[in-house]
């Protein structure tokens, strides 16, 4: 590429990134109201629901809580939590065949390992009669670093019983996300006992991290199975601009940091490419960044205007984002629970209500409009 073309490319990306203010999102005339369900969790990071409507909630500081029939009990203090920057206790997931398989899974930034610092770990435990036991680390990414950013992490099962986990690139974008021999910036896939499926895409590659399912991610903090297609949808934080929603394909490269719709925090560019052969385009990208965390598809009849669509938390703008989608992409965006606080997680409960974890507020239930 000659200098002129390069300069032109850089200029046009800068222009795009600066010019797009967040004018494409609507504010509701009449917003949804909410009811606080748990107020003593400072940073409710992950939520998951049992068939009977009771649920588990994680606190970033390292505790797991169980909420049933209106009361909340602490059921675990998870050891080896690396509570620094974005690290801490992260997501929680109940086995889809619970209680036949009475297992829960959670992810956390972990100090386990020889080096100072931390990296993301996947833990399995038994959850029987309201008690947690037999915590077992199934996977621990390495090497540790004292950097405070990009641990991920979310967990999800697909319809075949595979468990997916996201890990962010740990603030090492030039080193981790494009290298399948290293942890970080990846979606991983496991069997429910923590073993690695032999048909994982890089299983046969000698030095690869065999649990990797897709790569080239930055910091995915939302992951949910699509209720109809059964595909795994993920959203991830971009830098300044360029948050993305991606539909995960086996062995695919999502491009970070080679291609991106974002720029550095200081306004400079790190790439002039938004697409390249062999790298996936996002289903949707946000400019400016909303800092997305938590994602759910609404299938419940309790919120007719939201049904079939995506909800995603916005840490930055402090609302729950409603994305109206069809096969062509995102058709419309709306702010729900506007100014409620930093929305960390969102989940549709088994009772059909939408539950939201908000930093500094707690776990709330979004009330349908009467």
């Amino acid at each position: 590429m000659n200098i002129k073309a390069l300069t032109l490319g850089l200029l046009s990306i800068s222009f795009m990134a600066c010019a797009q203010s967040d004018s494409t999102i609507d504010t509701l005339e009449e917003d949804y109201s909410h009811e606080v369900i748990i107020e003593d969790i400072e940073i409710p990071w992950g939520l998951d629901f049992f068939e009977d409507g009771s649920f588990l909630a994680t606190s970033k500081e390292g505790q797991i809580y169980y909420h049933k029939n209106g009361s909340t009990t602490k059921v675990a203090d998870v050891p080896n939590i690396y509570n620094r920057g974005q690290g801490g206790l992260l997501d929680v997931k109940i086995h889809p065949d619970y209680p036949q398989k009475p297992w829960i899974y959670f992810t956390h930034a972990s100090t386990q390992g020889d080096e100072d610092g931390g990296h993301t770990a996947l833990v399995k435990a038994d959850f029987i009669d309201g008690q947690i036991s037999n915590m077992e680390t199934l996977y621990k990414a390495s090497p540790n670093t004292t950097k405070g950013q990009h641990f991920g992490s979310r967990l999800e099962f697909d319809n075949d019983g595979y468990l997916y986990m996201s890990i962010g690139e740990r603030g090492e974008r030039e080193v981790n996300p494009q290298d399948i021999n290293r942890d970080g910036g990846k979606i991983y896939r496991f069997n429910d006992d923590g073993s690695i499926p032999e048909d994982n895409p890089f299983y046969a590659e000698e030095n690869a991290r065999k649990a990797i399912y897709s790569y080239g991610h930055r910091n995915p903090q939302g992951m949910e199975i699509h209720p109809e297609s059964g595909k795994i949808w993920v959203h991830e934080h971009g830098p300044r601009g360029g948050d993305e929603i991606n539909i995960i394909k086996k062995g695919a490269n999502y491009g970070w940091p080679v291609i991106s719709y974002g720029i550095n925090y200081d306004g400079t560019d790190f790439t002039d490419q938004t697409s390249q052969p062999g790298m996936e385009q996002p289903f949707y990208y946000w400019v400016p960044s909303i800092a997305p965390s938590g994602m759910t598809f609404v299938t419940s009849d309790k919120y007719p205007k939201l049904k079939g669509n995506i909800l995603a938390g916005s840490l930055k703008f402090q609302y729950l984002e409603h994305l109206v989608i069809n096969e062509n992409g995102v058709q419309k965006r709306e702010k729900l629970l506007n100014k409620v606080g930093r929305v960390r997680t969102v989940k549709q409960g088994t009772d059909g209500f939408i539950y939201v974890g908000i930093e500094g507020v707690g776990v709330v239930k979004m009330l349908p409009k009467s």
Partner: protein, 143 residues
């Protein structure tokens, strides 16, 4: 000689009892230049995402650190917010902010360094704000 050794040993004990994080601080102070330099690294890792590269913040969402009246008028609150986090409504440079900043899990040394970086950049360098010392950070409790 004996006195000095005894004295620093005693100071160490005092820090330990005041610091619930389990972090055992080195009692030597850094010179300001080095502290600012180290603070820049902390800033890039923990602060820049919200407060941005010139400390300008985002109006109505993330308060500015550039020319911020908090740094001069609310020095203790500023240090405490970096050490323990901050929640609720505050007024910075005449504008109201109501957000939640979690504790970053920084060591006291890192808190002092990043404070010194911020206090000596973003237009704050002309305001003669005195150096934040490790001792000043260590003795601050949550409330």
């Amino acid at each position: 000689m004996f006195f000095i050794a005894f004295n620093s040993f005693y100071t160490g004990l005092e820090f330990e009892s005041e610091n619930s994080s389990g972090y055992y601080p080195i009692t030597q102070e850094k010179d300001l230049k080095q502290s600012i330099k180290d603070g820049q690294g902390v800033y890039s890792g923990f602060c820049i995402r919200c407060h941005l590269s010139e400390g300008e913040g985002v109006e109505g969402i993330y308060p500015p650190l550039a020319n911020s009246n908090w740094l001069s008028e609310k020095r203790i609150e500023s240090i405490r917010s970096v050490k323990y986090g901050l929640k609720g409504e505050i007024e910075v440079n005449g504008k109201t902010y109501n957000n939640y900043m979690s504790s970053m899990g920084l060591t006291d040394r890192e808190v002092a360094d990043v404070m010194n970086y911020v206090m000596n950049n973003f237009g704050n360098e002309d305001r003669d704000l005195s150096q934040v010392t490790l001792k000043e950070v260590s003795k601050l409790s949550k409330n």
